[in-house]
């Protein structure tokens, strides 16, 4: 089965200058765990809910509440996104996507077609296919 038959569409994207707090809100509203960062048709990076959590100040931080809020209010997705994004072509077999996710220990791959991002395939999509096939 091809990646295109299993992917999730449309890809939810944001720009690199989006504030992390806004990106978190977008991900919460859309109920997604991976957000693609693009500049027009160009894929710049990917940000996950885990990236967000890891980049928040630790509860043990010595920063004051005001300082934390100051930092958070200015942090952009470009500063926390993963820049080296592994992608998969829409026409590839879904098994290739599964191997890429396993080999690189990642939960999602942007799906590209003729150089443009057309969707995203996640662990959930692969699990759904597994359940539907059984």
């Amino acid at each position: 089965m091809n990646v295109s038959a299993l992917m999730t569409v449309p890809p939810i994207t944001t720009g690199p200058d989006t504030l992390v707090v806004e990106a978190r809100q977008l991900m919460s509203n859309r109920r997604i765990r991976h957000l693609l960062v693009t500049d027009g048709p160009k894929l710049l990076g990917i940000i996950t809910d885990r990236d967000m959590r890891l980049n928040l100040p630790s509860p043990a931080t010595s920063l004051s509440v005001w300082d934390i809020n100051y930092v958070l209010a200015r942090m952009t997705v470009a500063s926390v996104m993963t820049k080296s994004v592994i992608t998969v072509e829409s026409g590839r077999d879904a098994l290739v996507a599964a191997h890429l996710m396993l080999d690189h220990k990642i939960g999602a791959l942007p799906v590209v077609e003729a150089g443009s991002v057309v969707g995203i395939i996640t662990e959930t999509d692969l699990l759904r296919a597994f359940v539907q096939a059984s």
Partner: protein, 123 residues
Amino acid sequence: MDPILIVDDEVDLVTTYERLLHRKGYRVVSAGSCREGLLILEREPLALVVTDLRLPDGDGLDIVRAARRTPTPTPSLVVTGFASEASRAASLAAGAAGYLTKPFAASNLVSLVQGTLITRQQP
């Protein structure tokens, strides 16, 4: 079979719809606005309508209602990026056969389209 009408102002998503449905053997016509969608509904018989809820010039529910008024009522599916219980209830009340939230799994869209068309064909 008559074509499936896609009404959505996201050009890239319309292209994705077309690719997904073409692969399953369906013909697709598309409209980027409510007005354009209503014109196509008046002009040609359709097997199914898939419409976004928020269109630049109107409400996708107008498309759903118009589809029900065609000589042979055309089933419709609503797809929205702004999901809520209220919009789901409003869509079904307007006559939509199904409701899908963006982003959606391509396989779920195809299943919903196939299921709706099979239901329509049954006497």
